[in-house]
Amino acid sequence: MSWKMKALKKSVWVFHVNTGACNNCDIEIVNLLTPKFDVERFGIKLVGSPRHADALLVTGVGTKQAAKRLQEVYRQTAKPCVVFCMGACAGGGGIFEGAYHVAGPVDKIVKEVDPNAIIAYVPGCPPKPEAMISGVVKALAAI
């Protein structure tokens, strides 16, 4: 385990990207970052720029309009980084699967840019903050 990945697991700075979500998952992510759940104990911090981020919290089914932008944000994130697909829509389309405006679920969009991207899925509609914490911790332990 290289020292880079070891340090990455102890200090994860997250950036939130919405690629066409109904806002439910976004509200839960914002809930997650409040003092009640205290994710700073795990070293998780919200940053304002993808260049500072280690983890992208992506919500929403990837719409055609948002697909190019999500790829640009992924390219701007300094590697190594992890992509967390939060919610059923980001994971596999959710209730919008096959709709006219969907450019594929988020992992398909990200893999077009980087086939070796590290992607983790947190299901739920929306996933509870406790589920998100558990998902992030498990994903970091499994890297």
């Binding site: 719409t63 055609k64 309009q65 096959g98 006219y100 405006h101």
Partner: protein
Amino acid sequence: MNQEELDNRLAEISDKLIDTQRISDRRVFLLCESENSFAVNKFLFQDLALRFIIATGIDSDSCFEVLYHYSNDETGCIVTVKAFIRDRENPSMESITPILPAAEWIEREMRDILGIDFINHPNLRRLILSDDWPEGVYPLRKEVKK
């Protein structure tokens, strides 16, 4: 205004309507043809001073329907103007945005998704479809399968 007053005032434009349906105490539908919808909307917004909520576009098999919803805040009654557009090939209707600026975006959305052309609309550009969506394909029309 209370319910009685509303009913009396609504009788003034009954010549422009096909029918007035009162589903319940708080739900009134005013059915009209698309040619008369501007006059009916103008009456409801300017003369009766009802509050505009939102508009809906529906693709019924034989025609298009455009519904404008208004609220009478004093009684909680919702008055809906249901306009029928009989021409399925080139549906068009007069836009109410010149008198009601709040309707600008919802009419743009109906144009994007259903293809209803709004005459006199000040800003009929693409709103919610993506930049690379082909022109002339209207996703929520019944004949568009995928």
